[in-house]
């Protein structure tokens, strides 16, 4: 995100002078994600978005804490899902990549072929998710196996999933595979209490999803996913352990989805009292409180960050909106890299 200035950069812990710096860097990624998603939601209501809109509201701390502490330049990986706007950006996705996919620009990483939440840049450590939940764990495993084949054992792959996604066979196979291969994988489970409308009592019967860790022979952590400091510390530890060769780490963050499943969903099935219960808070508001209370930033500074961020977001959206849409007559309509073997073209001679 080179155009956002002054801006935190994706970096490992060592890159930060002190706790304050790390906290504020993360907080500002959270602000960016929140403001960007609010803009996208407004555009959705105005009918300006191609496809659906799924927000990470309430999950920014948990997502950013992982994404920011991975090191893209070093070769780390981050495989985000639909609620990882924060983590994606903090890891290194550009604001334009995000904006372009939502707004249907052909310049986006998926060139209009696939949509906003599925976006990725696989060769830059950001695999492009498919919808089928759980399946990206194995993909990241394979990327890490490839790195190991190439002699790189000090890179870490981060992969995210929701409470609902843990019920998939793919998730199980992937986590078990990572454990058997002792891969440097950090799995972040955002237990946001719902999968679409389904509460966790219909999803799992254990006390805490972190209880699964022992069954795979991996280290488990269970934290308050709305507490940015806890998220930063836990992911820092998990990433460093994975990097040191201790194998997969399973981090479960308890939080609440502060939005509908998608913007088409009013989420009336979530009782209002949930927001008052533990883990029901807004991590962005909580981070702001903490920054103020610790005198790490003044209200005025924070307001300025908001204003600057808002401006950048508007700029990016405006630019994406001015870009061309995909043109079906320019499409190759071939699904193969080996062009001469695509049906409809003459066979090789």
């Amino acid at each position: 995100m080179p155009s956002l200035s002054p801006s935190p950069t994706a970096s490992r812990w060592k890159g930060f002078a002190n706790e304050r710096e790390r906290f504020l860097a993360a907080y500002r990624w959270m602000i960016l994600a929140r403001i960007f998603e609010e803009k996208i939601a407004a555009l959705y209501r105005a009918g300006k978005i191609v496809g659906g809109v799924y927000l990470g509201r309430g999950q920014e701390a948990f997502s950013v804490a992982l994404g920011m502490q991975l090191d893209q330049a070093h070769g780390d990986l981050f495989a985000g899902l639909i609620r990882d706007q924060g983590g994606r950006m903090a890891f290194g996705e550009t604001l334009m990549d995000s904006a372009r996919t939502y707004l249907g620009s052909v310049e986006g990483p998926m060139r209009g072929r696939d949509g906003n939440i599925h976006r990725g840049r696989p060769t830059r450590g950001m695999p492009a998710m498919i919808s089928h939940l759980g399946t990206m764990v194995a993909v990241v495993n394979g990327m890490l196996m490839a790195k190991r084949f190439h002699g790189r054992v000090d890179v870490v792959g981060g992969v995210t999933i929701g409470d609902g996604g843990t019920s998939t066979g793919a998730f199980h196979e992937g986590l078990n595979q990572a454990a058997v291969e002792k891969l440097p994988l950090v799995v972040a489970v955002a237990d946001n209490q719902y999968a679409y409308s389904t509460p966790t009592c219909h999803q799992y019967a254990c006390a805490d999803l972190a209880d699964r860790a022992a069954g795979y022979g991996v280290r488990g952590y269970s934290i308050d996913g709305t507490d940015l400091t806890a998220c930063l510390e836990t992911f820092h530890e998990a990433i460093e352990r994975a990097r040191r060769g201790e194998g997969p780490q399973l981090v479960v963050g308890k939080l609440l989805r502060l939005a509908g499943h998608g913007e088409h969903d009013d989420a009336r099935y979530i009782p209002a009292r949930k927001r008052q219960e533990p883990h029901g808070g807004d991590c962005v508001a909580l981070a702001r409180e903490k920054a103020l209370k610790s005198a790490w930033a003044s209200a005025k500074e924070i307001d300025e960050w908001h204003a600057q961020t808002q401006e950048r977001v508007e700029e990016a959206v405006a630019r994406a909106q001015s870009e061309p849409e995909p043109n079906p007559f320019r499409e190759s309509w071939h699904a193969l890299a080996t062009k001469h073997l695509a049906e409809g073209t003459p066979p090789a001679q």
Binding site: V50, G51, G52, G104, V106, M110, G112, R113, D114, G115, H118, I130, S131, H132, L133, G134, G164, G165, S167, T168, G169, A170, A195, Y196, S197, T198, H202, Q203, Y204, Y269, E325, P326, N327, P328, F329, E331, W333, H334, A335, A342, E343, G344
Partner: protein
């Protein structure tokens, strides 16, 4: 009263739940929430304990439906999107489809698949998978194109002793309307002449029937009478009705929304030429989606799938125009 395709699907389920205590519905978000598309809205309240939310475990959902069916139940499984049936593929084609043949014990399950492309849905929320399941022995594959068939065929699907893959088209959910629920529909396995004609036969199913009908209306203005055959079931295919239509028109275009290799259009064309070669006055034609995943952007999506425009163009070609 006006009833949508989606209403019809909900009403058929309500009636089945009412008529047979062994019917139940199982799927993600189907209970209080009423399903991603609201196809089960209100049913959990009306039929307590018989509409059950499932974890995100399509393989187990179908596997358990098979188990329940063995014990005399008649489960209706709702997939959130047809595309997600890919993770239940094994339980569908290897467990449910083989059960009766292997053991002699029937496996009456109905798997409802919200199918087909819509704007901005992309590669994983748009697939048409009827050809996939029709390939496997032991399954019946329904592809209703009308409100009446959505209702009548779903009721039949639930009553049938075999696993039924019920492909409902998302594009028809809200916009397709009828005045009332039908009293009766054609028997399962019979195709329907959706429009009578004499210059060419267009064979299609599901949403493509409506594209074909629109193409036929356009061509009618040009003086051509196009017969449209609505397959209704992808398996079994009612070869007799298709042959009878081709006997009248001498020309065949098979249209389907699924991918081009194999699939319905290949099967229809092959049956017509192996059994009714002499009926044809011109080479039969096929029209499918393109051989790429279903694109996300509407500009691309509209060019990817067959439309009334491309159908009309194909028919003109078929007519030698």
């Amino acid at each position: 009263m006006s009833i949508t395709y989606l209403d019809a699907i909900r009403e058929a389920q309500a009636r089945a739940l009412e008529e047979d205590p062994n019917v139940f519905i199982y799927g993600q978000d189907v209970a209080d929430f009423g399903g991603a598309f609201k196809a089960t809205k209100g049913l959990a309240e009306r039929f307590p304990g018989r509409v059950i939310d499932a974890p995100i475990s399509e393989d187990a959902i179908v596997g358990s439906a098979v188990g329940a069916a063995i014990e005399g139940m008649r489960p209706i499984v709702e997939m959130q999107f047809a595309d997600f049936s890919a993770v239940a593929f094994n339980q569908i084609v290897n467990q449910s489809a083989t059960h009766y043949w292997r053991t002699g014990v029937p496996c009456p399950i109905t798997i409802r698949l919200p199918s087909g492309g819509t704007e901005g849905s992309g590669p994983f929320h748009s697939q048409s998978v009827e050809s996939l399941y029709a390939h496997y022995p032991g399954l019946i594959v329904m592809t209703p194109a009308t409100v009446e068939d959505a209702y009548g065929m779903l009721l039949e699907a639930i009553r049938i002793e075999d696993p039924v893959i019920f492909c409902e088209h998302k594009l028809l959910y809200y916009h397709l309307k009828a005045d009332a629920l039908p009293r009766s529909v054609l028997p399962v396995g019979k195709a329907r002449i959706a429009r009578v004609g004499r210059h060419a036969s267009v064979v299609a199913c599901s949403a493509m029937v409506h594209e074909a009908l629109r193409a036929a209306r356009v061509l009618a203005d040009e003086g051509w009478e196009i017969e449209v055959v609505d397959l209704r079931t992808a398996k079994p295919i009612d070869t007799d009705t298709i042959l009878a239509s081709v006997a009248r028109t001498g020309r065949l275009l098979a249209v389907a929304e699924s991918f081009p290799w194999g699939g319905i259009t290949a099967e229809v064309v092959s049956r017509v030429v192996t059994e009714g070669f002499h009926l044809l006055d011109a080479p039969p034609q096929r029209l499918n989606s393109k051989d790429t995943p279903v694109p996300y952007h509407p500009n691309l999506w509209r060019a990817h799938r067959p439309t009334w425009q491309s159908i009309a163009a194909s028919v003109r070609h078929l007519l030698g125009l």
